[in-house]
Amino acid sequence: MIDQMTQKPFEVRFSEGTAGFVRLPVAQLNEVCRVLDEKGFRYWVSESQYSMNGGPEWTSIQFSHSVDPRAVQSALDRAN
């Protein structure tokens, strides 16, 4: 799945001991959440939305510590 803002695949960010998260355009929130719901990942959408210089809005999704960020990355990579 391609991030419409960066034109690159979505990147699930994480580091040792932290839960994963992904930044995404608000316009793609529904389609990303649909993929996450289908796979049963536990996640939360931030209530904050950001925009710079009048550009498109983005937000973030935070995953539970119990979710393997690599599995989320794999699911997003496979989704169309």
């Binding site: 960066t6 960010r13 930044r23 973030s60 935070q62 539970s64």
Partner: protein
């Protein structure tokens, strides 16, 4: 100052403290978003921390943003919410007991404390503080039972008390157990438990917000009920 005025000031101070804590969370999240966006647009740098000698570049800072920007920031401000609320509750009880110390008439006072005290109020305050120090080490359910026993305000309700108990238990996990849920969390959080033992506790943004809203509501309910009661008496 009359008790009703002191309670009004305490309510305002606590609401301000909670607002400042949440603004810090929100502003810092935004600042980290700006950092990430700026770096993604090609900004490069190298910076050395003179205290630790750690040198970082823009990619390192992107990594830090996910630690500090989301997880640590949410956890630290969440702990701050709980601390602000605990201070509020015990400040409220202190004001109440100082005004109505008759409920403490069976408490004993060390004679030295009487000799050291400048006046009657100082002796009362010493007894009240000793009493509250003991209550403070109890669980939240006991705090609110104590509040009800002394002030008879009829709030907060049982569901709010259980949610505060869970939030306090989550705070304890972060402070005392490096974020890993243990048996103590399960016991303290009761029916509101969000985890099983061994899991790393989550402080997701919606939960962070819900707890903040809950604490504000309880502060308002307790203060407003007390003020109404005082005005009616």
């Amino acid at each position: 100052m009359p008790l009703a005025n002191e309670i009004r000031d305490l309510r305002q101070r606590t609401m301000d403290d909670l607002a400042r804590a949440h603004d810090h969370f929100s502003d810092s999240m935004y600042a980290w978003e700006i950092v990430q966006t700026t770096i993604s647009r090609g900004f490069k740098f190298v910076r050395k921390n003179p205290a630790t000698g750690t040198t970082i570049g823009e990619r390192d800072l992107i990594g830090h943003s996910q630690n500090f920007g989301i997880q640590l920031l949410a956890e630290s401000t969440f702990q701050n919410f709980i601390s602000i609320f605990e201070n509020f509750l015990f400040d409220f009880l202190r004001l109440w007991l100082k005004t109505y110390p008759q409920s403490l008439t069976k408490k004993s006072v060390n004679f030295q404390a009487i000799l050291d005290a400048a006046d009657r109020n100082e002796i009362i305050l010493a007894v009240v503080n000793k009493e509250l120090n003991e209550v403070m080490y109890e669980r939240p359910a006991s705090w609110f039972a104590y509040l009800e026993e002394r002030a008879r305000l009829g709030c907060p309700d049982i569901q709010a008390i259980e949610r505060i108990a869970e939030a306090k238990a989550s705070r304890d996990v972060l402070v005392h157990n490096r974020g890993v849920v243990g048996h103590a969390y399960i016991v303290k959080s009761g029916s509101q438990s969000r985890h099983v033992p061994g899991e790393r506790i989550d402080i997701p943004e919606p939960y962070h917000r819900e707890v903040w809203d809950l604490l504000r509501k309880v502060v308002a309910d307790v203060c407003d009920s007390a003020t109404l009661k005082l005005l009616a008496s």
